[in-house]
Symmetry: D2
Subunit: 309 residues, 4 copies
């Protein structure tokens, strides 16, 4: 196996050279301003080491990667009852598709497409004011990353709120089917704010360690979720973490991962490592173009794959 300390800088250098960087998400105005030349990567190993390269300490909008945090919190709150309101199947449709909701009576396919994540957020609102729910999610991210400096970028949240007509449509559509308990605008308010959490690759890699370590924080040994739940979250990341590009990502890279339109991807090698990569340009499925390529190359170099013997 290659030496990660050599692999990462080489990878960052190679990525800096590439010109096929994809397009930065422009449907959220605030995200459209990000410099597409950025590339960062950080790997938190279960042995405690953290290796990083490129713009690994620059924060970016984690967007849909936050759906891992909210799913984990919601499972802690309501357990398997969650699955009465959201499915566990790949969607076969883009992240913001509404077609499937009409055909399946307002039950979203999985918690990682927008509609599913809005339902998960609605679960987290129970008994809370929106501000409290946002606070709970942010504190969970801070706790997992062991870093109190992580914040919500309110400009990004406001930018998405002002232009998120499709998400308004999704939320109201599910409300019409009785699959939201709160007012759509409240669930969406929380949703936009947790999507707007800003983290660096280093912080994000730290926050995923419990998933690589059987549900426990490898530094403290404290359990975040049960080992079984950690495995199940990873299964969902593998089958649903890249929208309608999930199958291709599993085929090419072979590790569970969750992407966000901010250009970040969080990948987990069970027992070994939590990886965060960031490059703002997206491919045709809305996943980081260079981030996907970098993860594929890293996985091959390190022989990291859940499908390897």
């Amino acid at each position: 196996m290659a030496d990660l300390e050599e692999v990462l800088p080489a990878l960052a250098a190679e990525m800096a050279e590439r010109t096929d960087r994809g397009d930065v998400a422009n449907y959220i105005p605030q995200l459209g301003k990000i410099d597409p030349q950025r590339f960062g990567i950080a790997v938190a190993l279960t042995d405690g080491r953290v290796v990083a390269a490129g713009d690994a300490d620059e924060t970016f909008s984690i967007q849909s990667i936050s759906k891992m945090f909210t799913l984990t919190l919601a499972l802690g709150k309501v357990g398997d009852a969650l699955w009465r309101r959201v499915g566990r199947e790949p969607s076969g449709n883009p992240f913001n598709s509404i077609v499937q909701l009409e055909n399946e009576q307002g039950i979203p396919r999985n918690p990682f497409i927008n509609a599913g994540a809005i339902v998960v957020t609605d679960v987290l609102l129970a008994g809370h004011q929106p501000r409290e729910a946002i606070g709970e999610i942010l504190r969970f991210a801070q706790f997992l990353a062991d870093d109190d400096t992580i914040i919500v970028d309110r400009e990004v949240a406001a930018s998405e709120q002002a232009t998120g007509f499709r998400n308004v449509a999704l939320a109201n559509y599910m409300k019409a089917f009785g699959n939201l308990q709160h007012a759509p605008e409240l669930a969406l308010g929380v949703y936009y704010h947790h999507c707007a959490i800003a983290m660096s690759c280093r912080q994000l890699a730290m926050s995923g360690r419990f998933l690589a370590h059987g549900g426990r924080n490898p530094a403290t040994g404290h359990s975040v979720v049960s080992a079984e739940r950690a495995r199940r979250i990873l299964a969902l990341m593998l089958t649903c973490g890249h929208y309608d590009g999930s199958g291709d990502f599993a085929f090419r890279v072979g590790i569970p991962a969750k992407s966000g339109v901010g250009g970040g991807i969080l990948g987990i090698v069970p027992g070994v490592a939590s990886i965060a990569v960031w490059s703002p340009g997206l491919n045709e499925n809305g996943n980081s173009r260079l981030g996907s390529i970098a993860l594929e190359k890293l996985a091959r170099a390190m022989n990291w794959s859940v499908f390897a013997p």
Copy 2:
């Protein structure tokens, strides 16, 4: 970790007691005659041991599990060019859905739904008579299982050919889009015959060893496919192996597997084991009901999961 020699017989005994066995596939008349009380399981470990229980030596119709054989052969024949004619994404639709084909111009979502497997079969027909193509697939199954007694059950093939109107529709529909090179009836003839291969759990578990062993036969050390290709086939099994129940299976069981409507499932634990289970009753997604449950219980007992640390 539990002792497999104890776990398997206990599991077979527990399954024999259950009354919620699902319904035997009745759309293929010959399959509808199978006794739903049957249950068999066999595990071929990469250390060479084979452990079995229940009706592990009774043959059954492997049906769609044969799609793993044909995919492996077709990749050997045309390599990544295959992916110009078939996708790698979960379908989000039942195994015999035609809707997606219309929306995506005759390119099936993946090689494990019927439409995709018919395209793969069409690839294997190139330069061959149907009889030769059937022979090649059968010999590959015999070679992998190291057992020359494996045969095609021609009554099952004839039964499916007489009633397979949906598959005729799928094949002709793809032909209309130019995605079949041979006459639809020729591709279907080969397809029905490879689906009608009859194998026991023991034979099937043996045939999957190369996937558990990085592409090599653990007995001989000979390479069947490259390590990378083995991983990629496993990725497809995990994301697409159970039709529109693939996400749920990955969530519950956590190992790559391919099911067939004959009630068989082939599951692979990378580096550890190739597992075949069989019970003819199906669940609502067309996958073996008790087979799925038994694999879930076995995986938990043995701590087998690609998502475990």
Copy 3:
């Protein structure tokens, strides 16, 4: 030809006896309170006579019948430019379906399904405050019916506004595709109010006379729309006026008509009559059950059909 003065009372009496009255729309709470025993009918002949029977002077919520008023106004305002934003084809889907919008980039199929009518309302908002746009539509209905007492039932509008999550979804979805020029809530506000116009059968039949009379008011001879536009509005009513029951209605009844979930239907016999019928119970397509049957019987008795020699 039968004598309308005899036919209508007999028809009203027959309808009063029927017990298969369908279900009153309950998704708008205020509509759910209406007595399902009501039945009214009024026919305004182009010779100036008006014949009525049953509860013909009781007002009801015209709901989607108002889409005829708004379409007529919008065509007057922007002419054929309207057709860049809404189609002219039957939808093949329920009145509140969103699937077609995703497949066709936010362009609704026709101006008589909810999505299409919301676009039409958005057109009427140009240069106006919502209150002014509502006023303009109401005055147009009053003008056509020659009756200044017609009002908007604000309780119904408020009831729909409080529960119209699907319409919020439709409006925001089209906004996401750039097919609404105003804020979705503004267009919806106007939409709910024009749907909540309350009219009696007599008033409604009066309001449709111009369509039966080549675009001119038969009483005054003044032109409301050109003869060609009147024909085209009738064509849309025939092909799209009953949602996904439009084909069946044309087959059974053979006259252009527009229905509303309040249980009203406005039907036009070109050159002869404008007919309004009302019975609150709906059939499976959301059209008045007894209203449809009464129109079928009336058309047969009077030999009224656009397809008759």
Copy 4:
């Protein structure tokens, strides 16, 4: 009203000049050979006169216009029982779409899309050999046109049979749902042959007279179908006769009509005229481009519309 004897030659001359003629159907090889410069038109008035212009006596493949003949025959054979196997709604999809069949359990939307017409043909096969069924349909066309020289163009039928994979898909798909009583290849054989009937505009206009004349042959006074059935067939032609361009055709032209991919259109003005027009180039919905335009101009010139007072 204009004089038809003057209008038709002028229209033919105008159409001869146009260069925007659309593309000839090329998916049936034999049709692809037709000269796109052809244009013919014939009008059979209910007063007995026939006026024609252009290539009105040249035969062409009537294709889907034959679905009017088969629908009329099938209604005569099984009456309203037909509607248990085929719907009466516009499809909202292209003529050869299969999506709707999956969603609606093998029941085609209407008898004028391919799937619906194949079911109708299956009805006509009951108790017959394919050859007899073809003979019955051909004799019906000859009878209606009062012309025994009308034939089936067997080269066109063979050409379609060799390449009609989509129709094979449709037929087998419906067979899978139990909505075909005969073998798919038998129903398709009859279907291809009746679509391959060759007629001139003059013959076609003659064959439609009964629909313009309340179900009776205006020359003999003999009843072909009841007046009510004639009206209902016209209703289906108006709502479904031009596939997913039916709404637009009703809007522009305002008369019931059935088109075929051979470039012919049969239009009916109730009480007045049966019109046949032919120009081989098609528009984006698969309907004759110049034929549609010519009918629109003719209808306007003669003030022919079912929606006119």
